[in-house]
Symmetry: C2
Subunit: 222 residues, 2 copies
């Protein structure tokens, strides 16, 4: 009986992790597509992020939360399983927020499509790539319980911050030289901030992984 | 024995709620002070938010999370207690994020203090007041398990959004008429966005309360 119980628990943990990774894969795609829709001025792609993918992520958040609560009620897990489930709940919440940022970017992309471009978009896609890689690696560090990879994710947050500062400075210069660009430049500044927040959330996840594996909070030490 | 156990559980729940409310009171004060420091150009006040209050909030977040995990391990609660504890963990996380927004506002306030004002600050304090009231009422709706108050908080989110849009439009007009104001105006636009995010987080908490009380998610229905 003990053995069957432990096998059931194991299979539920696996199912939870699979659902979380499925949700993460949608969120990663949403971020990538929101930026692609901006660069390629592809309204259909932006609408897909907003109308098709975001509702899926919202449903998954509720589903995974319910699965976690049911898991806690059913197995009343101790120590490491308990910590793992509370981390799944936190990551679940972070993934939903990541999806929100992608939707915000897609909305700004749509608003920018009807207007002439302020400047060629090179640095924003670079920043987006770094941010999405951080999200992917933070999830990988979770499934592999790999604190080194998590620490690596954390160390990349500064690069993204620097890119955001540089992008903002460039756009402020555009506004100064041609104030008629202010609305469009502001949209791009805000998109860079969404990407910064995306990297922050990946960093949150990485810090949670370090906490889960090492049992100590590194969140507020640096 | 059963009775002693249930009394212990009750007293731990009370302690958890008290800690959460204590954390919320610091966060509310931080938001208020960050805006006051902006309006009154009071650097000492801004520094207090960043250097004294933020570390307290970070410590409390870790402490409350540990208390919740210990609670789950010790009591292995079912149904309503379980849902309540998972809500405490979510609200705890939201409060920490609220503190981060206050710190961001305080940092921008410090940067603006050394420069001439762009315009008299009237609408931002109004927006801040509405946002802080939403935070306070969302916490009250939690401690009173009051879904009507929670619904009321949610209904006020649109007002804050409208204020943010109006503030942004005004500042964009300032930039157009005098492009030398762009850096300062941008700081104010970003402060308005932090206030909008503060109202969003209060709305999150209110939606969690409705979920906790009614057992159904309203998060993605509107």
């Amino acid at each position: 009986l003990e053995e069957r119980f432990s096998k059931m628990l194991e299979s539920h943990v696996t199912e939870l992790k699979e659902q979380l990774l499925y949700m993460a894969s949608i969120v990663e795609r949403m971020i990538g597509e929101s930026i692609d829709s901006l660069v390629e001025r592809d309204e259909a792609m932006a609408r897909r992020v907003i109308d098709e993918e975001e509702p899926k992520v919202n449903d998954l958040e509720i589903k995974i939360d319910e699965m976690c609560i049911n898991f806690l009620a059913l197995y009343q897990p101790e120590a490491s399983d308990l910590r793992m489930i509370t981390m799944v709940m936190r990551i679940n919440n972070d993934l939903e927020r990541l999806g929100d940022h992608a939707v915000n970017i897609a909305e700004r992309a749509i608003s920018l499509m009807t207007k002439p471009p302020v400047k060629p978009l090179i640095d924003i896609p670079v920043m987006a790539k770094k941010s999405v890689d951080m999200v992917r690696d933070s999830l990988n560090s979770f499934t592999k319980a790999d604190p080194e990879l998590a620490a690596d994710v954390r160390s990349r947050d500064d690069e993204v911050d620097d890119l955001k500062d540089q992008i903002t400075r460039d756009l402020v210069a555009y506004i100064k030289s041609d104030p008629s660009t202010v609305e469009r430049a502001l949209e791009l500044i805000l998109i860079a901030r969404h990407l910064e927040r995306i990297a922050d959330l990946a960093t949150n996840i990485a810090e949670d992984v370090i906490f889960m594996v090492k049992g100590e909070s590194v969140k507020h030490l640096w």
